[in-house]
């Protein structure tokens, strides 16, 4: 998989490893050639803006893997976890094709099909390529992408190009074999197990060769890296430079997910993952070098729906077998739906363009104001349209005097599943507040009285005034308001200390 973690894996993870990573902000994409922009503009994983509008799915057809990552437990069969490498149902290519066609008929936002695991798709080449081949015949409008750990990538470049796979994700955690030996205990190479530094060196060389070969053929390559504190955190800036030089189009740095109950080596040994702040700092440092993708949700290897949304249960094989589908009509419907989405995005662009005027006006007033992080509850469409209690993840934006930029996702356990007064809402709310650490406001369509009070007490200002407005202009408006009220002044050192504590 590129997954990373099979256990952790691909979608939310790794195992599925990598497919899910995604793309850059529209500003970052603006310098790209028209041809590349055309390739990514409706790919929810490669374009930050597209992920509000389009849906993707992964099919779990590739169970085997040819390396071991310390963040993966290779037990992919767990329905209760949502992370890369985890799937609940392994599919044959035949079942996978049926499932994709069923989903693409039911969810017209579908634009991308990825294979990310739960093992490594290229360690299962027959199953992976058979699935792609049949889909490209039956649903030529769906883009195909694949994630891999890269070990056998050079052998498959030809086949990937022949099938018109124009997006490939490689999980590259290091370019130094000594660091590699701390992440990969072994690889299976030329019919033998090769352990330690030697194995890691082979993997690194194959990844870099595969990356260079794909770039030379014009295939878009995204690189996913898992940030592992004390192992590769200091090294990923160099990885970013190297992969950029080799032609990677996007770099997605993801946090390690390691819990003892996942049964991974890192989880069991007590390796920690990065804090939000550590991750964001590293992403900022790498951003100098290339496009960074910050909206990756680390999806499961069988994820279905918009990013951050999980509709897999509606499409288990048992249900898919019952569905009657008119493929041609479904494709026609998708084309119309996508055209409507594009018209909508065009309109929003005009709308949010106004915001830059307002924000730069603040700058002219010569007030020195600091950047502020805000969390947003959105179920898609690029607007603020979610009830605080229904949000499973928040989008985090940074507003500054010059612009509003997307920083990343913060996942939380769902705190309310419908009723206003659920059982342990309180502890869950406390967890949300922890997840929103560093944010000073949360924008949502609505919010209950109790969470409102507690958020306020925690220094996070709830705001329901911008329901149904485009996210970026709403964030800019709230920032504007904070500036007017003197809330975005630079903090005094003593205040900073208190906040850091």
């Amino acid at each position: 998989m590129a997954l990373q973690l099979i256990g952790q894996a691909t979608d939310d993870g790794a195992a599925g490893c990598t497919v899910s990573g995604c793309g850059g902000s529209s500003a970052q994409l603006s310098h790209l050639s028209a041809q590349i922009r055309e390739k990514v503009h409706n790919h929810p994983c490669y374009s930050e803006d597209a992920h509000h509008h389009y849906a993707r799915m992964h099919v779990a057809v590739a169970p085997a893997c040819n390396i071991q990552c310390h963040y993966c437990n290779r037990k992919y069969d767990c329905a209760n976890e949502s992370r890369p490498g985890v799937v609940s149902e392994l599919l044959t290519p035949d079942q996978a094709v049926r499932k994709v066609l069923a989903v693409a008929a039911a969810i017209p936002q579908m634009s991308v099909l990825g294979i990310a695991g739960p093992g490594d798709p290229l360690a299962n080449p027959e199953r992976t390529f058979e699935t792609f081949r049949r889909l490209s015949e039956k649903a030529p409008d769906i883009k195909l992408c694949v994630s891999t750990n890269g070990l056998t990538l050079p052998d498959h470049v030809e086949a990937l190009c022949r099938l018109n796979i124009d997006h490939v994700t490689i999980t590259i955690n290091c370019v130094d074999a000594d660091i590699g030996a701390m992440i990969y205990p072994w690889v299976f190479w030329n019919n033998r197990r090769v352990k330690g530094r030697k194995g890691a060196a082979i993997l690194i060389e194959q990844q870099q060769r595969g990356l260079a070969m794909l770039s030379a053929r014009g295939v878009l390559v995204k690189v996913n890296s898992v940030m592992i504190p004390g192992v590769n955190d200091q090294h990923l800036e160099e990885v970013s430079r190297v992969v950029k030089a080799k032609g990677a189009f996007l770099h997605n740095v993801m946090p390690l997910i390691a819990e003892a109950e996942h049964g991974t080596f890192y989880g069991v040994m007590g390796q920690r993952g990065p804090t939000h702040t550590e991750l964001q700092r590293l992403q900022d440092r790498c951003a100098g070098d290339m496009n960074m993708m910050r909206h990756c949700r680390q999806c499961r290897a069988d994820a279905v729906g918009m990013l951050g949304e999980e509709r897999g249960d509606e499409f288990c094989m048992e249900k898919v077998e019952q569905m009657e589908i008119d493929y041609t009509a479904a494709m026609q419907q998708r084309a119309e739906y996508h055209a409507a989405i594009e018209a909508n995005r065009e309109a929003q662009k005009h709308h949010s363009g106004e915001r830059f005027v307002a924000v730069s006006a603040i700058k002219r007033s010569q007030r020195e104001t600091r950047p502020v992080l805000m969390a947003v509850a959105s179920s898609g469409g690029g607007v603020i349209n979610q009830h605080f209690g229904h949000a499973r993840a928040f989008l985090v934006y940074e507003a500054s005097p010059t612009d509003v930029r997307f920083i990343g996702h913060r996942k939380v356990d769902l705190y309310c599943s419908g009723g206003e007064h659920c059982g342990d809402a309180e502890s869950t709310l406390a967890r949300i507040i922890r997840a929103l650490d560093g944010c000073e406001a949360v924008l949502c369509s609505r919010i209950g009285y109790e969470p409102w009070e507690q958020l306020e007490a925690a220094g996070i200002q709830p705001n329901g005034e911008h329901a149904m407005e485009p996210i970026e202009s709403a964030v800019a408006a709230v920032y504007d308001e904070m500036v007017k009220n003197g809330l975005a002044e630079h903090r005094t050192p003593s205040e900073r200390l208190r906040i850091g504590a």
Partner: protein, 92 residues
């Protein structure tokens, strides 16, 4: 001469396609090796293929009934070094 897969197999599927004798099959709860077919990869490969790719220590027994991938052989950390390695990792 046959290798054997036991119940600690996590059904990751990695070994099955590699077996030159097609001796590996999906049994009820995990994968199994048909003792009549397994050749130990003799004549095909220097190392038994299933043993060389299996990610789980102890899941495959060699013909004498001993774990082909004993504890510590795949993580690279011998059991007696485990506490020290854990302390080092937790300090990261």
């Amino acid at each position: 001469m046959s290798y054997q897969i036991i119940e600690s197999c996590v059904t990751c599927h990695a070994c099955e396609p590699l077996c030159p004798a097609r001796a590996i099959y999906r049994a009820d709860r995990h994968f199994s090796i048909d003792a009549n077919k397994c050749t130990g990869c003799d004549g095909d490969y220097a190392d038994p293929q299933c043993v060389s790719i299996c990610p789980i220590e102890g899941a495959i027994l060699d013909p004498s009934g001993v774990a082909a991938n004993p504890p510590g052989s795949l993580t690279g950390i011998a059991p007696e070094r485990l506490p020290a390695a854990m302390a080092e990792i937790q300090a990261r």
